[in-house]
Amino acid sequence: MRAWIVKRLIEIIPTFFGITLISFAILHLAPGKPTDVLTEMNPKITPEARLRLEKYYGLDKPLHEQYLLWLKRVVKLDFGESFASDHRPVWDKIIERLPVTIILNLISMALMLAIAVPVGVSSAVRAYSLYDKITTVIVFIGFAAPAFWIALLLMMFFGVTIDLLPISGLKSMDHDTMGFWGKTWDYARHIALPVFAGTIGSVAGLSRYMRSNMLEVVRQDFITTARAKGLSERVVIYRHAMRNALLPVITILGLSVPGLIGGSVIMENIFGIPGMGQFFYQALMTRDYPSIMGVLTIGAALTLAGNLLADLGYAASDPRIRAR
């Protein structure tokens, strides 16, 4: 098991460099230099100052040297200074916003599992019944609805029509005057809509996946054996079948990390949440080059971490993987 983990960890390193290389190359090959924006926005800048900027970011060097230069600093967690008027280090800005995004996505994932697994199992147990057909239709619709549209509908209903939940930000104006439970409640009210909006589409896909896994597992011999032993249907379904059907779901959860991170750009933008997605959007709008590369890199690291955790979880629960 330990050898397997070490091997898996080592595999991550080339992938990580591959991702940063691809991102770096794509951004640099796209027409338009990052310094163009700086100079466009500031007409007083002289050609010499512009050259200095290019030199600072190494833009006059060939691409591979630029990449190595950048990589050398990234290893020390130095993503450079933001182009924004505050000129703060990109790393500091990311670190401030990262916890918000991670916590929101973890809550979303927990909610996804909590809804999708029971729905998937129950519709597999009653496959082709009316209940199964209805959930199938709902799942197809949920799967096709854009998350940001669901967000708009939720905002409209809960925020405007019945005016129950706040539709923007993470805290109320009087947040600082509240006690601990008051603050917690305030946060919960603010994240309720973004979490739900981000979860619904994924629940659809995941429950469908759970359902087909269950249907496949139920046909296997060990289930027939369990039934033949005289075990109750409850034990057969929930102990024997569900555990096995759950395994691939762990992998899917790990693979869904890039989607969740990408989705947070839209969600945080809609709900005005000060997380990494919103930061990325602002960086894009101002072409804040170092910040864009910084977020891309951190996003890739999170994705790899998600995949690794999924693999470890899978290995921990399936001895066949460990033996390989």
Partner: protein, 284 residues
């Protein structure tokens, strides 16, 4: 086989519904200039944000433009982006997958490592970043979506090619002196056609979703060209007063994506011989 395919497909009511939605959408998009009641770009200061009524069946937007007309023209964008993006990703993915599966060895390892790396990139971030640096024209959007979503097709085609490469008809073609290119295109690709078509159809659905998200964020199709995504941006700005701007374009996106998904699933079920007997197979 094709007769069997068609009868299987028609038995699947959901798939027929999907095909119907897509057909209706294509007709609406093709006839948009004829059936749209207004010029989609006509600004009318006297009819700003009017609720749906006889004069404007789906209401008007914040510049007084007719929502129904804008949505009809938006259907063209959605159709175009979906097909071109999915076309690009299918071609790119098929080429990479075919090369990896056919030649194996180091070519296979290199390509699959590249695929795994691309899969680990939060693609939406990358798309946003690239489009923000390029001009956000519709052609750039289609190219970027296509070039960041081919990995699934590559894996699929590779797996098909791996399993086909030892089959008798391939060996026969080879012993008759057929070139690698001919074996790959005429023999192997033709035999892995149906899963590729399924993934292309599902790819159209996800391209439509990505485009609407980009346009919603203001990085996609640029106003005044109407797209369902950028109409929703106006919907969000006026969420407290104009529900129709948020509801109708969203329904259009949902119906479109649903249509492609149902169609894709239907083709898969109809083309899968394992599901041909006994009527109700396990539908994934």
């Amino acid at each position: 086989m094709s007769g069997m395919f068609i009868s299987r497909f028609r038995e699947n009511r959901l798939a027929v519904v999907g095909a119907g939605i897509i057909l209706a959408l294509a007709i609406a998009a093709a006839l948009a200039p004829i059936i749209a009641p207004f010029d989609p770009a006509m600004i009318d200061g006297r009819h700003i944000l009017e609720a749906p009524a006889m004069s404007h069946p789906l209401g008007t937007d914040d510049l007084g433009r007719d929502l129904l007309s804008r949505m009809l023209f938006g259907a063209r964008i959605s159709l175009l982006v979906g097909f071109v993006s999915a076309g690009i990703s299918t071609v790119v993915g098929s080429v990479f997958g075919a090369l990896a599966g056919y030649y194996g060895g180091w070519a296979d390892r290199a390509i699959m490592r590249f695929v795994d790396t691309m899969l680990a990139i939060p693609t939406f971030f990358l798309i946003l970043a690239v489009i923000a640096f390029l001009e956000p024209s519709i052609w750039n959007i289609m190219a970027v979506i296509g070039l960041t979503s081919w990995m699934g097709v590559a894996r699929l085609v590779r797996a098909e090619f791996l399993s086909l490469s030892e089959r008798e008809f391939v060996l026969a073609a080879r012993s008759l002196g057929a070139s690698d290119f001919r074996i790959m295109t005429r023999h192997m690709f033709m035999n892995s056609f149906s899963p590729v078509i399924v993934s292309a159809v599902l790819g159209v659905a996800s391209a439509v979703l990505v485009e609407s998200g980009l346009s919603f964020l203001g990085i996609g199709v640029q106003p005044p060209t109407p797209s369902w995504g950028n109409i929703l941006t106006a919907g969000k700005a006026n969420i407290e007063i104009a529900w129709w701007l948020s509801v109708f374009p969203g329904i259009a996106i949902l119906a479109t994506v649903l249509g492609y998904n149902l169609l894709g699933d239907g083709i898969r079920d109809a083309a899968d011989p394992r599901l041909w007997r006994g009527g109700r197979g396990p539908r994934g």
